[in-house]
């Protein structure tokens, strides 16, 4: 999915916007006449798209003068590394985790993508080049015909250096898998929950990340548009999205529409401030362009998308948070999340739940745990936020069920209440 090379032409005529994407431009030895002919062919394709019935018209797409470039750096370049050594490190991880008795299957994977993008418009010339990596270690533990799975994942705009973090997580994953074979089913109900930074970040991502993508505002699909300036969370909830100011899987210099990256404060002390925009929805709505127009690939449409989405840290320690729980669960190992921007439902699936009673772990483990609730209720119930901060960016974010882009999410540990099943 990530390996791609191609071109997309966007044009605006009488307000209408059309795009034509193609995998290859054969420019060598064309000469001026050949280039003109190619340009005619491309504009012919675009022209056919402008004159469709009922087409929407936008204000002119801004094109302020800008020339900029970014060249990222990594510590250990996987493309220059000895492949035998890399293979041996990954094999070793897999072999160490698989004992053939409890852990019947393990899988280790490392991938690195080298990204180079150019944006050219009449007044803008932008270039960026950086690499991101992600690595996983999965294990399947089996007892009889009951199988349970867990994982460790690392990621970032980094190179092979991320593997050492994965290697250091081997023992904890083995112990977790052993505990999962005795996992119970959770008794359905509402509980106090502590989310680890990965799950908390996904709560932010699903709740008020997708919910404030401004193309949802344009479609009238975002309830958030009615709540700007209003309370949607407790005083402890401050939330950001931005490709700028943090360096992780969702960071870049400019988005796929040539807009410079920014950081948007979405919620400030529980009050909803604003959204994240692609160019066209921002122009149609007359709101700021935030540099969040992103495509899965050159061949895909640009939508308003998240980048790095996180809660701001608070003042509590994790120990204090655990100690405050009367009857609840510590939830980790995110499996999936899904947004509902119109009706503010939320779904988070965690692979590991650890029971806490009277401030102490009981040793009971549940898997999987399905968390559901009404977004403002969940955010207003946040009563403790830790001072930690961690981002995670393995996997990908879809818009609904497609259009995958790299993002990260995270922040601190967060304590709230949700319905579990």
């Amino acid at each position: 999915m990530w390996v791609q090379r191609g071109f997309v032409f966007r044009a605006q005529k009488e307000g209408a916007v059309a795009e034509y994407a193609l995998p290859h431009l054969e420019l060598q030895d064309l000469g001026q006449a050949g280039i003109s002919a190619l340009a005619d062919q491309i504009s012919g394709n675009l022209d056919a798209l402008f004159y469709q019935p009922g087409v929407m018209r936008y204000p002119p797409i801004p094109d302020e003068e800008l020339k900029a470039e970014f060249h990222g750096s990594i510590d250990e370049d996987p493309f220059a590394a000895d492949p035998e050594t890399l293979l041996s490190r990954l094999s070793s991880l897999r072999e160490k985790l698989t004992d053939g008795k409890l852990v019947v299957m393990a899988h280790s994977r490392y991938e690195c993508v080298d990204v180079s993008r150019i944006f050219i418009s009449p007044r803008r010339e932008l270039f960026q080049s950086f690499a991101w990596s992600q690595a996983y270690l999965f294990g399947v533990a089996r007892s009889g015909q009951t199988s349970k799975m867990s994982y460790r994942a690392v990621s970032g705009r980094k190179g092979l250096e991320i593997l050492s973090t994965l290697e250091s997580s081997l023992d904890s994953l083995r112990e977790e898998l052993a505990s999962l074979t005795k996992a119970i089913k959770i008794e359905p109900g509402e509980y106090e929950v502590i989310f680890d930074p990965d799950v908390a970040g996904t709560l932010a991502h699903e709740a008020f990340g997708h919910g404030v993508e401004t193309d949802m505002f344009l479609k009238g699909r975002a309830k958030a548009s009615e709540y700007l300036g209003k309370r949607v969370g407790s005083d402890l909830v401050t939330m950001y999205d931005g490709a700028a100011e943090v360096d992780h899987s969702g960071s870049f210099l400019f988005d796929d529409e040539g807009r410079s990256s920014t950081r948007t404060k979405i919620i400030d002390k529980g009050i909803l401030l604003g959204g994240i925009s692609d160019s066209l929805s921002a122009l149609a709505l007359g709101i700021p362009l935030t540099g969040n127009g992103r495509r899965q690939a050159f061949s895909h449409k640009a939508y308003a998308r998240m980048t790095n989405t996180y809660f701001a840290p608070g003042a509590s320690s994790l120990e204090e948070m655990i100690g405050s729980v009367k009857n609840g669960w510590f939830l980790s190992r995110l499996n999936a999340g899904m947004e509902d921007p119109r009706n503010w439902g939320i779904q988070l699936i965690c692979m590991v739940g650890r029971e806490i009673v009277d401030g102490k772990f009981t040793g009971r483990v549940a898997s999987p745990v399905i968390c559901s609730g009404y977004v403002p209720d969940v955010l207003k119930a946040i009563d403790m936020v830790s001072s930690d901060f961690a981002l995670a960016g393995s996997g990908a974010c879809g818009k609904g069920h497609k259009e995958y882009v790299k993002v990260s999410s995270g922040g601190p540990y967060v304590k709230t209440r949700m319905r579990l099943g």
């Binding site: 193609l22 995998p23 798209l49 087409v55 449409k301 509902d340 779904q347 069920h401 497609k402 319905r419």
Partner: protein
């Protein structure tokens, strides 16, 4: 030109075994907000997927490694050379037991031409568009389409390998995702759905949208799911398909070889988990019959050959709950020492014993749309938050929303019951409903 460059580079590099798949796509895309066209896009794509195989011997045993690279048509000769060289090196490091590539062969399956091929360029997008919007007028002004995306893709594929297997195919794939909305006393509510298609089937497309429009009207009346206790759950449509797909996916050679599946040939895969609790086959309430299908009219994943170039024919996978054959990649079949059958994208499930109306006769919960239904193929665990369900309390069929369900295929497989009615889903022709006991239901209050 690109193909010739790749083949020449393979020859120059002395790589004797390989597989090359070329895919050329032309796609028209339309994005609607209400009935207004937000944007029109046109996309040309061309992709090459090359797999190289490198053999070795150790202690008298033959091994075969493989690596796959994506090649783009804009790559220069030197870039192609470097990518193939890296792939060959990677293949030399992955030592798996030897397996033969398929040689030249005909497929017993022939794919009927799509109705899209009979249409002009404009009609290919206008007919599905008109069909998808057609149902709106029946439910206006109560419900409407909020937004809709429509993609119609023509794909030409060409397959060739070093053993002389070569074939080409041309197909059409349509996809639409849409959100429908209606206004409730507390504000607008919406439902989502998507539909894949390979034919400009006006009736099927209109029904896909029409069903959701009718349901979103019900969502305006939906109450938060109360505590309904332990009642049966009826899963419908794509979620029912996912349950059947769990059996189909666990009966594949790769899952079994990797020990991700516990299925064994000749075993009843619907019997309860451990030998200590083994029950007689008669305890299985509705023994399943599942077929691997190369072609299902209307589904875009129909194929005469699998990704390795192995010819596909219709095969029975499960009969009376007993696993008769594995399907899946031929290399994993060889490594398991079982018959090669090929990897299938599609399957069908025989009709079940119970009419949907009979399933609905007793108190039950019937979810029609989830936030994101998840079924883990390895663990068999499933669950999701409910967007819209109908709760029948013995007297009334009440629309409800919120809450969630969860369950385990490992536990539910002996007692699940299929509906007698079948319909096309995403990757199968299968019963439209499954009745499940002992699913955990979490209320929304």
């Amino acid at each position: 030109m690109m193909k010739e460059k790749i083949l020449a580079t393979l020859a120059a590099a002395g790589i004797s075994d390989w597989r090359l798949v070329r895919s050329a796509l032309r796609r028209e895309e339309r994005y609607f907000v209400g009935s207004a066209l937000e944007q029109a896009r046109s996309v040309d794509e061309e992709k090459y997927s090359l797999t190289v195989y490198v053999d070795s011997e150790s202690e008298g045993k033959k091994y075969r490694g493989e690596a796959t690279v994506s090649l783009q048509p804009s790559l220069s000769s030197s870039e192609i050379q470097r990518k193939i060289s890296v792939a060959a090196m990677a293949a030399s490091k992955s030592k798996n037991p030897y397996f033969e590539l398929p040689g030249p062969s005909e497929s017993p399956t022939s794919l009927p031409p799509s109705g899209f091929s009979m249409l002009g360029r404009r009609s290919r997008i206008e007919i599905p568009k008109a069909s998808l919007f057609a149902a709106e007028k029946d439910l206006a002004p109560q419900a409407r389409i909020n937004s809709l995306e429509l993609f119609v893709t023509q794909e030409e594929r060409e397959f060739l390998n070093s053993k002389g297997q070569a074939f080409a195919s041309s197909g059409w794939k349509g996809y639409s995702e849409f959100f429908v909305e209606a206004v409730s006393p507390s504000g607008p509510v919406e439902l989502f759905d998507d539909v894949e298609f390979s034919e400009p089937d006006a009736l099927r497309l209109a029904q896909a949208v029409g069903d959701r429009l009718a349901q979103v009207v019900d969502r305006t009346r939906a109450k938060p799911l109360p505590n309904v206790g332990r009642i049966p759950v009826i899963l419908r449509g794509k979620e029912a398909e996912e349950l059947f797909g769990w059996f189909f996916d666990n009966a594949t050679t790769s899952m079994v070889f990797m020990k991700a599946s516990t299925f064994a040939l000749g075993a009843n895969v619907q019997l309860p988990a451990s030998p200590s609790t083994q029950s007689p086959a008669s305890s299985v309430r509705d023994p399943l019959e599942i077929w691997a299908e190369p072609c299902i009219p209307g589904l875009a994943a129909s194929a005469a050959f699998d990704p390795d170039g192995y010819p596909l024919e219709r095969r029975r996978v499960l009969k009376d709950g007993i696993l008769e054959t594995f399907t899946g990649s031929i290399r994993h079949a060889d490594w398991l020492g079982v018959q090669r059958t090929g990897a299938y994208s599609l399957f069908s499930v025989a009709p079940g014993p119970m009419k949907l109306e009979a399933m609905r006769a007793k108190p039950h919960l019937e979810p029609l749309l989830f936030s994101d239904f998840r079924l883990d193929t390895v663990t068999g665990d499933f669950g999701a938050e409910i967007r819209l369900a109908y709760w029948f309390d013995g007297k009334e069929r009440i629309p409800v929303t919120g809450g969630s369900i969860s369950g385990s295929m490992v536990e539910l497989r002996p007692t699940m019951v299929r509906s007698a009615e079948r319909a096309l889903a995403s990757r199968s022709l299968c019963p439209v409903a499954v009745l499940l006991d002992r699913v955990s239901i979490t209320s929304a209050v």
